[in-house]
C-alpha cells in the first residue's frame, strides 16, 4: 500500500498584509530587494509572515511543512543572490513566466552562507510534532539561473554550486524531507557537456542529509535522455509535473526507465486559481499510479506542480486544504 504524503514545493505568496508592509519597508526597485542583512523591521515582518504560512499548513493538515521561502525575492535564484561573492545584475525573466529576478553574477568562491539554514531554524522552532520539509533549488537549476564569472567552465561551475548547496544542507536543522527543485532540467535541459554530471551534482547535495530527498521537475516532461541520467542520482524520489506539458512522455519515461521507490506527483496546478476538489486530486493520484504498471511505491508525495507564489494568497491557501484532504485515508473516491 502506497503511503500518500501531502506537501508543496514551497515558495509561497506573501500574505497580502505583508506584501504591503514589506513593499513600504523595502521599496519597489531592484536595489531594494533582499540582501541577506535586512534590518529589524523587515526581519520582524518576515517572521510574522512565516508564522502565518506555517500555521496555514499545519491547520490544513499537510504532512510536510515548508518555510514558505517568503524572503526569496529572486525565487529559486535566492540562495545565490544573497551570497557575499555574488553580485546582482539586471532583471531577467524567470523561465517563461511574467516574473523576473535579479541575475546572480558569481564573482568569487561560493563559500558557506547559512541563509537558508537560518530560515529553517526559525521554522523548526514553530513546529511541534509536524515534519519539516526543506526546499532548495537543485544544483542544475541554480547554476542555470546564474551567470558564472568566476569558475569559468560550465562543469566546474555546476560542481561548485552543488558543493555550495551540500554545505548549506549540512547546516540545516533536522528535517524529514528535502525537495530539490529542478525546473531547468525540463526548461533548458543540460547539453552533452554536463548532462552526465548532473546526477553526480544532485547526489552530492542529497548525500549531505539523512532526510528523504525528492528531485522535483516541472513545466513539462523531461527529455528521455535527461531522465535516464537523472535516474543515476542518489535520491529517494523524482517528482513529475502531471499538470503542464506532456503526460504521455512522462509516463513513457517512468515505464521505460523505471523510477525510484518513492515518487512525487505534481497534480495540483500551482499557476491557476481554479481550486481542485480533494476528490479530483485523489482520482488523479490513483489514475497516475495505475498508469505505472511496472512498480508500486512506498511513498507518493502529492503536491502542486510548481511553486505557489504565482497565485493570489486566498487561492494558494485553498489549494493547501485540497492537497491535505486529498491524501486523507478516509477519503473515498469512485474508482
Amino acid at each position: 500500500m502506497t503511503e500518500l504524503v501531502s506537501t508543496t514545493p514551497g515558495l509561497y505568496p506573501l500574505p497580502d498584509w505583508a506584501k504591503q508592509e514589506l513593499s513600504d519597508l523595502k521599496g519597489h526597485q531592484k536595489h531594494d530587494l533582499i540582501s541577506g542583512n535586512e534590518g529589524a523591521d523587515i526581519v520582524s515582518a518576515y517572521d510574522r509572515a512565516r508564522e502565518e504560512v506555517v500555521s496555514e499548513q499545519t491547520d490544513a493538515g499537510l504532512d510536510r511543512v515548508v518555510e514558505g521561502q517568503l524572503r526569496w525575492d529572486d525565487m529559486l535564484a535566492h540562495p545565490l543572490t544573497v551570497h557575499e561573492n555574488v553580485e546582482t545584475g539586471g532583471i531577467v525573466r524567470y523561465y517563461d513566466n511574467n516574473n523576473f529576478y535579479r541575475d546572480p553574477q558569481v564573482r568569487g568562491e561560493l563559500t558557506f552562507s547559512g541563509d537558508v539554514a537560518a530560515e529553517l531554524d526559525a521554522t523548526a522552532d514553530l513546529l511541534g510534532d509536524e515534519s519539516l520539509q526543506a526546499v532548495l533549488p537543485g544544483p542544475y537549476s541554480l547554476s542555470d539561473l546564474a551567470t558564472d564569472e568566476y569558475y569559468g567552465d560550465e562543469a566546474d561551475f555546476l560542481d561548485a554550486v552543488s558543493e555550495f548547496l551540500a554545505g548549506e544542507v549540512d547546516a540545516f536543522p533536522e528535517h524529514e524531507t528535502l525537495f530539490l527543485l529542478e525546473p531547468s532540467l525540463v526548461f533548458s535541459p543540460p547539453g552533452e557537456d554536463v548532462d552526465d554530471r548532473v546526477p553526480e551534482a544532485i547526489s552530492a547535495v542529497s548525500d549531505a542529509t539523512d532526510a528523504d530527498v525528492v528531485v522535483h521537475t516541472y513545466w513539462g516532461a523531461l527529455d528521455e535522455k535527461v531522465y535516464a541520467h537523472l535516474m543515476d542520482a542518489d535520491v529517494d524520489a523524482i517528482g513529475f509535473d502531471f499538470v503542464a506539458g506532456d503526460r504521455d512522455q512522462t509516463l513513457y519515461n517512468i515505464n521505460e526507465y523505471g523510477t525510484k521507490d518513492d515518487i512525487a506527483l505534481g497534480l495540483v496546478d500551482g499557476q491557476n486559481t481554479l481550486v481542485e476538489d480533494p476528490e479530483t486530486v485523489r482520482e488523479r493520484v490513483e489514475w497516475t499510479l495505475d498508469q505505472v504498471q511496472s512498480q508500486t511505491f512506498d511513498t507518493a508525495y502529492v503536491t502542486s506542480n510548481t511553486e505557489l507564489f504565482y497565485l493570489p494568497e486566498n487561492r494558494a491557501t485553498e489549494k493547501l486544504a485540497a492537497l491535505a484532504a486529498a491524501t486523507e485515508d478516509e477519503l473515498e473516491v469512485e474508482a
Partner: protein, 357 residues
C-alpha cells in the same frame, strides 16, 4: 495578407509643409501628473471626503492636460496618455463580465499586479473605451488614436479557469474586442492600436494572435487604421508570419536594442506599414534630433517613406514627465526634418529599399 493601408493620408495635417509625410504617433501611456496619483489615493481612502465623482473630474482634467501636451509636441495623432488606466489588463478585466479578482500576485520584487481570473464566459456589457474616446476627441484638435490591450495578452495574463485552452479564451476575447471597435468606429474612431506584449514572451503562439486579429478586424471598414504593437521580443520568431496579419501597421520597439534586429524585417519584403520606435523609453536621457533622424532612417531600410510611421519604443509612463515630453518633441522635429530632406532628394533611398507600388 495585410489590410490596405491607404488610410494613413487622413492623418496628414492640413498645414503640413513637406511633400513627404511620416506619420508621428505614440504608443499610449504617459506619466501621470503627481496630483492625479494623489487624487487616486484620496479616492481609495474611506476617511477622505474625496469621492469617485471628484476622481472622475480629476481624470477628465488630466486627460485634457496630457492630450494638450501631446498636441504641443506637434504629434500628428494623439492619445490621452491612458490617464484613466492603472494597468493594461486590470482595466479591461474590470469591464468584462466573466472576470473576477482575487488579489495581487507577484511580478518581481514587491511589484504586484491584480491578475484576474476568468471564471465564466466572457461577455460584452458596457462599452470599455467609448466615453474615454469621445471625451478625448472633444478636447483634441488632432486625430485620436485608441490603444486597446489585445485579446491574446488579456488571456495570457489572466488565470483561465473556464475555457478549455488559452487560445479559446483569446478567441472569445477577440470577439469582444471586435464589438468594442465597432462601437468606437461608430463614435468616430479612425485609428486603433491593439497591444499584444504577451506575444513577445511566447512567440510560438503567433498563429493564435493571427486568428485573434482576423476576428478583431471582421467588418471593420478599411478607412479605419488598425495597428498592432508588440515589444521586447525576438522577432525572427514571428517574422515573416506577421506579414499575414490583417493589420495596417506593425508597431515595434527597436531603439532600445540599437536596431540589432532591423534586418529581420527586410527579407522577405515587409507588408504592413512599419511604426518604428525611434526613442528609447527605458533611458531618461533625451535623444537629440540628429540621433532620432538616424533612427528614423533605420526604418527606411524596411519600408519606403510612404509606409513609415514613427513613435517611441513603447508607452512612456515610467519616464519623468518632462523627459517624456522632450522625447516626443524631438521625435516630431526629427520626422519633419527627415521629410524635408526626402523632399529635397538629400536622402539616398538605397536601391535595396523596397518601394511602394
Amino acid at each position: 495578407m495585410s489590410r490596405d493601408a491607404e488610410n494613413r493620408e487622413q492623418f496628414r495635417p492640413e498645414a503640413h509643409d513637406n511633400e513627404h509625410f511620416l506619420l508621428t504617433t505614440v504608443v499610449g501611456s504617459y506619466p501621470k501628473p503627481k496630483w492625479l496619483n494623489r487624487a487616486n489615493d484620496l479616492a481609495e481612502d474611506p476617511d477622505s471626503k474625496f469621492t469617485q465623482e471628484h476622481l472622475h473630474e480629476a481624470h477628465d482634467d488630466a486627460c485634457r492636460v496630457i492630450t494638450n501636451e501631446h498636441e504641443r509636441s506637434g504629434l500628428d495623432t494623439v492619445v490621452d496618455g491612458e490617464m484613466r488606466r492603472e494597468e493594461m489588463v486590470e482595466y479591461f478585466a474590470h469591464r468584462i463580465p466573466g472576470y473576477e479578482f482575487n488579489g495581487p500576485v507577484k511580478v518581481w520584487g514587491h511589484n504586484y499586479f491584480d491578475k484576474p481570473s476568468v471564471v465564466g464566459e466572457v461577455e460584452y456589457d458596457e462599452p470599455w473605451l467609448v466615453d474615454e474616446f469621445e471625451f478625448t476627441s472633444d478636447v483634441a484638435s488632432k486625430p485620436v488614436k485608441v490603444p486597446i490591450t489585445g485579446p491574446y495578452t488579456l488571456a495570457s495574463w489572466s488565470f483561465n479557469e473556464h475555457y478549455d485552452s488559452e487560445a479559446d479564451l483569446a478567441y472569445a476575447l477577440a470577439d469582444l474586442v471586435n464589438e468594442e471597435i465597432e462601437q468606437l468606429v461608430e463614435a468616430g474612431a479612425t485609428y486603433i492600436q491593439i497591444d499584444e506584449p504577451a506575444l513577445a514572451t511566447t512567440p510560438d503562439d503567433h498563429a493564435i494572435v493571427g486568428e485573434c486579429l482576423e476576428r478583431i478586424v471582421a467588418g471593420v471598414p478599411d478607412e479605419v487604421r488598425i495597428g498592432l504593437h508588440v515589444c521586447y521580443g525576438d522577432y525572427s520568431r514571428i517574422y515573416p508570419e506577421l506579414n499575414d496579419y490583417p493589420i495596417d501597421e506593425f508597431d515595434v520597439e527597436l531603439c532600445n536594442g540599437g536596431y540589432e534586429q532591423i534586418d529581420v524585417f527586410t527579407d522577405p519584403e515587409f507588408e504592413p506599414d512599419l511604426a518604428l520606435g525611434v526613442v528609447d523609453v527605458h533611458t531618461a536621457e533625451v535623444e537629440t534630433v540628429e540621433e532620432i533622424k538616424e533612427n528614423i532612417k533605420q526604418g527606411l531600410k524596411v519600408v519606403p517613406p510612404e509606409k513609415l510611421t514613427v513613435s517611441p519604443d513603447c508607452g512612456v509612463k515610467l519616464l519623468p514627465r518632462e523627459v517624456a515630453y522632450q522625447k516626443m518633441e524631438n521625435m516630431v522635429k526629427a520626422a519633419r526634418e527627415v521629410e524635408a530632406e526626402l523632399d529635397a532628394g538629400e536622402i539616398d533611398l538605397d536601391a535595396s529599399v523596397p518601394q511602394a507600388d
